[in-house]
Structures are given as structure tokens and as C-alpha cells.
């Protein structure tokens, strides 16, 4: 339905430049984040890859990490001709992607879907980037999805865990890289049941992703025969979790699960500690995996469990080299948002290399949808193009982490599933 009458393939000449001159303010900027080493000869036209990421506002913390992942990937491709763990792909010998230097064009969407939509339009039609990478967050990804569909550019989305973006929508150009929100907190209900817990409380932030996670958790709790004694959303933007945790305490639950993002994880842990509440399992979304969580809470974080899309000690191909590279580039230990960014870019890299071209979008798209691979971030396989949920992530999985003490330092130990575990699940919560 959408008319493509004005899509610019050949109207880019004088008219546009004239308009820019007359208004005088329209941004036609220089690349912001590309690291183009001098090894490239001048005649090679850079391959421009665009993305909008939340660098300010509500999602800035995570968006920034995702951005680092993108930048590191571009750097490695430009220097080595491939990213870590992808050395065996076609054309990996020469620097760049298919011999062309990668130039990242990253813009700040201010955590705002309206701006995100505007920026993808800008990237596609005004800046005429060659390829796209996804934004941060389910909300922005959801808003820009129709733009990318209309523009018909293959795009991997690193950090949108909401399944609603893909389910039943038969998207043709976008794939999910992150494990879907429905597979959150793996093993939680099983471990609880094995230890004889009966009552679980599920509390979650009232936004798309935590609701999604809670829905799946609810189903699994029922399946495993746990009694849900409290099941409630709480509004976004709250600053004090004490009243809600008090409710959980009053409900007699021995398992507390849920939360939302990093602030929720910290807030709920603080409130639990403050009230002296002692459930057998305290298991929270997102936050536990992030270094900020342990740094903020110190010993109060001990034995809290949480899930992770990724941990710095995974043994996916190239992952350890990636951790090292991140450490030397930015300092500190990477967390999953940056690995996700890196991993999503690797999907694009692999699809392009296998297609052997950057111009045939359909070929790249078909490969991207059929690809089964492993990135530094996770496993990758999506629902096929003809499925109603096309593009939905099928293979990526999560592990369960627990904050444990080793040599006087707090660390995230992998405690579930058994094949990935490097430590015992300390039960009960202390």
C-alpha cells in the first residue's frame, strides 16, 4: 500500500541539495563513530552502516553499551577483515567487509520512539546508508519496524526481546538476535520445585518486556505446580520498591521473581534487604547480569539470582577474545548489551559475506533468515520467512547467574543449566 513514489534512488541531485541550502540547517553530517584505519586506500568507497541508539534518556545506560559493541565490531572488521570468531567466512582475508571499510553512522534517538522513526527515515533516505543495524529497546524497535519493512533493508535487531514485534506479523526484513522475553529466568521454577518451595510471588514493571517475561514465568510456575500467591505489575518510574516488597513478604511467598530493568533489580534487592525479608530464592530480570548491580549493592547482592543473555565467561567462538578487546578498548568487563550489539553486527557480516554482495538485499535477507550460526553473543536461528512469526529468535538461550563470593570478590557464577554451570546454585538465598 505504501507508495514508494518519493523514495530516493534518483532524486538525490540538485533538488535535495538546493533544499538543504535554503533551509540551511538540515543535517548532512560527517560520520560520527567510524574508525577507518589508514590501511584502506582512498579509492575504496566506505560501506556505510546506520543505526539509531539511545545515547541519552531513559535507556542511555544500555544503549551506550550496545553502541560500544557496534563500534568494536566495525573496528575489528576494518583491521582484521573479520570479527572475532568469524575468520572462516568468505573474503575474511582482506580488511573491511567485502574489501570495503565499514563506516558506522550512529545517531542518538534520546530513548524516544518518535525520534527513532525520524532517524531511520533519515538514515535510509537522506544519508542513504548501505546497510542498517537495529536500535536499542523493544519500544523503539517496535516503532521503527514498519519503516524498515517499507524500505526493504535486511536488519538484525540486537536488543529487542519483546516477542510481540515478530509474533503474527510476518516481518520480511528484520530478525531478532536477543533471546525472546518469554524464555526469561530459566530453571527458576524447576529449582524451586526440587527444593520443595510452594509459593511464588511475581512482581514486574508495567511495560512490554517485563510483562512478557512475567507471562512466561506464570505459565512455567503453574506447570511446575507452584502456587502464585502474588502476581502484580507496578508502574514504571517508581523510585521506592519497599511497599511492593512488603506486599510480597506479607503474601508468604518463599520465591520472589520478576522486576524489570537494572533499576528495578537494585531497588527490589535494597527493599528486600531493608525489610529483612528472607525468601528461599530471589530472582530478578536483567539487572543481576550487569556489573552496576554488584558495584552498587556490594554484599547485599550475594546469592541473588538472575538471568543473562550472555556472560563474559561463555565459550562461544571468539567470545573470550571479544572480552579482552573490550577490556583494552574501554576498560572493565563488557556486559550483554555490548556483546549483543557485536553479535547482531556479526549476523549482518556473515549474511553479507555469504551473499558476496552488499547490493542484493533480497539475497542478504534470505541468507539472514536461513542462517544457523553462533556469534560471540549467542546461538542464532530465526523462524523462516514463510512462518507467521518470521524473524523470531529460536535458538538463543539464557543462563541463570548467581552473585557469589570468590576470593573476597563478588562474581556472577553460572548456576543453570547444568551443562553451562561453573558453580553450584546456593540455596536458600542468604
Amino acid at each position: 500500500m505504501c507508495s514508494r513514489k518519493y523514495v530516493p534512488s534518483n532524486d538525490t541531485g540538485l533538488t535535495r541539495r538546493n533544499f538543504i541550502k535554503t533551509t540551511g540547517v538540515v543535517a548532512i553530517g560527517t560520520a560520527i563513530a567510524g574508525h577507518i584505519p589508514t590501511i584502506f586506500a582512498q579509492q575504496k568507497k566506505p560501506l556505510r552502516i546506520g543505526a539509531s541508539i539511545s545515547l541519552t534518556g531513559k535507556y542511555a545506560r544500555s544503549g551506550e553499551e550496545q553502541h560500544k559493541g557496534y563500534m568494536l565490531w566495525a573496528k575489528h572488521v576494518n583491521e582484521l577483515g573479520h570479527s572475532y570468531g568469524k575468520a572462516d567466512l568468505p573474503n575474511s582475508g582482506e580488511p573491511g567487509l567485502l574489501g570495503r571499510p565499514v563506516e558506522l553512522i550512529v545517531l542518538d534517538d534520546r530513548s524516544d520512539p518518535t525520534t527513532g522513526v525520524r532517524l531511520y527515515n533519515e538514515l535510509i533516505h537522506s544519508r542513504q546508508v548501505d546497510l542498517l543495524l537495529g536500535p536499542y529497546s523493544s519500544a523503539v524497535t517496535n516503532a521503527v519496524a514498519p519503516i524498515i519493512e517499507n524500505a526493504q533493508i535486511p536488519t538484525p535487531n540486537p536488543m529487542a526481546s519483546s516477542t510481540a514485534i515478530w509474533e503474527g506479523r510476518n516481518l520480511q526484513w528484520q530478525v531478532q538476535v536477543q533471546p525472546p522475553g518469554s524464555r526469561r529466568l530459566p530453571g527458576l521454577t524447576q529449582v524451586a520445585m526440587e527444593h520443595g518451595d510452594e509459593k511464588i510471588a511475581i512482581i514486574y514493571e508495567d511495560s512490554e518486556f517485563p510483562r512478557n517475561a512475567a507471562k512466561a514465568l506464570r505459565a512455567r510456575a503453574k506447570e511446575d505446580g507452584l502456587q502464585i500467591v502474588l502476581d502484580t505489575a507496578y508502574p514504571v518510574k517508581i523510585t521506592d520498591w519497599t511497599p511492593i516488597v512488603q506486599q510480597v513478604m506479607n503474601s508468604g511467598a518463599t520465591v520472589l521473581a520478576g522486576g524489570g530493568y537494572l533499576p528495578d533489580a537494585i531497588g527490589i534487592t535494597r527493599a528486600t534487604r531493608s525489610l529483612g525479608y528472607q525468601p528461599n530464592i530471589l530472582s530478578l530480570l536483567v539487572g543481576v547480569a550487569l556489573p552496576d548491580y554488584r558495584d552498587t549493592l556490594g554484599k547485599a547482592a550475594l546469592t541473588v539470582t538472575g538471568d543473562a543473555d550472555w556472560t563474559p565467561n561463555v565459550n562461544y567462538p571468539g567470545a573470550q577474545k571479544y572480552v579482552e578487546a573490550y577490556r583494552s578498548e574501554y576498560g572493565g568487563v563488557p556486559e550483554y548489551h555490548s556483546a549483543g550489539g557485536y553479535g547482531a553486527a556479526q549476523i549482518l557480516e556473515e549474511a553479507v559475506r555469504r551473499a558476496g554482495t552488499v547490493d542484493d538485499f533480497e539475497k542478504i535477507r534470505d541468507i539472514m533468515f536461513e542462517l544457523k550460526t553462533t556469534t560471540v553473543f549467542n546461538l542464532y536461528e530465526v523462524a523462516p520467512l514463510d512462518s507467521p512469526d518470521s524473524g523470531l529468535q529460536l535458538a538463543a538461550n539464557r543462563v541463570m547467574l548467581q552473585v557469589q563470593e570468590a576470593d573476597g570478590k563478588l562474581e556472577n557464577a553460572v548456576v543453570y543449566p547444568d551443562e553451562a554451570a561453573n558453580a553450584q546454585w546456593i540455596y536458600p538465598f542468604q
Partner: protein
């Protein structure tokens, strides 16, 4: 000369000297050129730039609709985003649940927002000054909380949000937004040149004196408030289709109150073209800075805002009028 003078007198805004009466058509001319450019834009610029122009129009609409209430009556309304958001929701629900055609959904957005404003006006318009401002701020927050509360969940889906795939072309949305902008500017122009407009202004100038001169301030305020909300709701209803995903956090984000106010302030509060000018210039500027000042773009905007308040307190239009670049007339 004297006939010109008569003509100046015969309008309610009182005009000024004769050349002013003649020059006051300048505003109409400027706006006509503006609209003509916007109409031609889809054939002149690419889709990326067009999406910028769409946002310019969206913010002009928000600013101009805010101006209808607050610019005229001086009641500084910080609940504007509540009407935008309610309009978005009404329109999104109409499309997602009732399968309404897009233009009906937009109209519904306007009507629901207007009705909401009518209900709110009962407690709100008793309050004056800073109390009104802060209470409306609380009303906007409260609306967000209520829209995502358990009561409203069956209708609004609370935090899950409403995904929308509306099969209309981008140009259609663009032209619809342009039509709304033209409508709100025409309404403002007519109002500014009418007795009703003068009475609204008298509320801003001195409400008690206006009452004692027989002005039914309550009725006028409610009227302006409802009209302002109506256009905000239309804008929100249309913008829902641009976003294709509505959730309470973003639908009721306070920046959609504050940014239009800054734009109106910059252009000139209570003027006809102030919101158009302010919305256009500031949105283009805003668009420029995220591209050039990646991490400090909001601080840059802040610096400009502070400078503006300190050095151009009356807004751009009044500043130009004071320096004689524009006639002192309410038609611009």
C-alpha cells in the same frame, strides 16, 4: 488616507496606523508561502527530509494548539501531553479493536481528548497562576498512571502497549498533518481577530477586570481549553500511526508538553504565527544538533533555551515587532 484609517478601525484588533493595516496581511502572505512550500515538499525532497518536515509540522501543531489555550488566556497548561496521549490511545484503539478507517480514528482522537478536557476543566479552571500550572503537570502524570492502571487495562492494554500497522502511505500522513496545521492556524487567526479572541486575551491581561466588564471568563476558558485539547488529540491520533506502537511511557512523556511550550515561547506566545515560526525553527535546530553534537545535544539545546529566555524574553515575533521589522498587529 482617511479611508485606510477607517478600515484599520473597523477591525476589532484596532490595528494601528494605516500602513500597519496594509502590512498586517504580511502574516497571511508568509503563512501562504509556508504552506505552499510544505505542499510541494514531497516532490522536492527525499523521504528522509520529508520525515523531518513531518515532525516539524507535528510540533507546530502541538505548539499552536497549546497556544490556543495558554497563549490567549495566560493559563500555562502543562497537561497538554495528556490530551495528545489520550488522542493517540483513542485513535489506536479505534484502529486496532474496531477496525475504524484512519481518518475516523483521528477524528475520534480529537473528540475524546476534547471530552476529557471538558471533564477536567471543572476542577482545573477554578485554579489560577502557578497552582494551575503545577496541577496540570500532576494531571498529566496522573493520566499516564491511570491509563496504565488495572482499571483501564482491558481498553489500553496498560504497559503492553498497542502495536499498529496502518496501511496508509507516509505522504498521506504528511498531508493530513499539514491539513491539521493549516486548520489550527486558521482557527487561531480568526480567533485573534474576533471579539471572542479579545475577551480571551483580557483573561490573560487581568481576569478580574474582565469579569467585571461582563466577560464570562469561565465559559471562555473552558471553550479554549476544549478547543486546544481537540487539536492536540487530533495530532496525537494521527501521530499514533507514524509511531505504529503506543505505550503509556512514551505517549505521555512530558517532553511533548515542554517542547511545544518552548517553541511557542520562542516564536511568541499569543501570536498567530509564533508557534509556526518557533516550531519550525526549533525543530530544525533540534534535528541539526543531534547530528552534530552526539552526546551533548540536549545540553546544547538547554544553552540555547537559557540564552533565549535571558535575551529574547518576548519571543522572536515580538522582538521583531519591537524593532520595527514587523508591524505591531495581532494578525501575525
Amino acid at each position: 488616507m482617511s479611508t485606510r484609517r477607517e478600515r484599520a478601525d473597523s477591525s476589532v484588533h484596532g490595528g494601528g496606523s494605516s500602513w500597519v493595516a496594509w502590512l498586517s496581511w504580511l502574516g497571511v502572505a508568509i503563512f501562504a508561502v509556508y504552506v505552499a512550500f510544505m505542499l510541494a515538499a514531497p516532490w522536492l525532497v527525499n523521504r528522509g527530509t520529508l520525515s523531518l518536515l513531518y515532525l516539524v509540522l507535528y510540533f507546530v501543531l502541538l505548539a499552536a494548539s497549546w497556544n490556543l489555550m495558554s497563549g490567549f488566556t495566560g493559563y500555562i497548561n502543562f497537561a497538554h501531553v495528556a490530551f495528545i496521549g489520550v488522542g493517540m490511545y483513542a485513535s489506536a484503539i479505534a484502529i486496532a479493536d474496531l477496525g475504524a478507517p484512519w481518518f475516523l480514528a483521528v477524528a475520534l482522537g480529537g473528540c475524546v481528548a476534547a471530552a476529557y478536557a471538558a471533564v477536567l476543566s471543572v476542577p482545573l479552571l477554578r485554579i489560577k497562576g502557578p497552582y494551575f500550572t503545577i496541577t496540570t503537570l500532576a494531571v498529566a502524570e496522573g493520566t499516564r498512571v491511570i491509563m496504565s492502571s488495572a482499571f483501564m487495562e482491558p481498553l489500553t492494554r496498560a504497559g503492553s502497549g498497542i502495536p499498529l500497522f496502518v496501511q496508509i502511505g507516509f505522504e498521506t500522513k504528511y498531508f493530513a498533518m499539514l491539513a491539521l496545521v493549516v486548520a489550527v492556524v486558521v482557527v487561531t487567526y480568526v480567533l485573534a481577530n474576533s471579539r471572542i479572541g479579545l475577551r480571551l486575551l483580557s483573561i490573560r491581561e487581568d481576569e478580574r477586570a474582565a469579569e467585571n466588564l461582563g466577560v464570562n471568563t469561565t465559559r471562555l476558558k473552558i471553550g479554549a481549553f476544549v478547543l486546544s485539547a481537540f487539536f492536540a488529540g487530533l495530532g496525537g491520533g494521527l501521530h499514533a500511526m507514524y509511531l505504529s506502537y503506543i505505550d503509556p511511557f512514551n505517549a505521555f512523556h512530558i517532553k511533548y508538553t515542554v517542547i511545544p511550550i518552548i517553541m511557542t515561547f520562542f516564536g511568541g506566545i499569543g501570536t498567530v504565527l509564533g508557534p509556526v515560526l518557533g516550531g519550525t525553527v526549533l525543530e530544525l535546530f533540534n534535528d541539526y544538533i543531534w547530528a552534530h553534537v552526539l552526546r551533548l545535544n540536549l545540553a546544547t539545546f538547554g544553552v540555547v533555551l537559557v540564552a533565549l529566555i535571558l535575551f529574547m524574553p518576548q519571543g522572536l515575533l515580538e522582538w521583531l515587532k519591537d524593532r520595527g521589522f514587523l508591524p505591531k498587529t495581532r494578525r501575525i
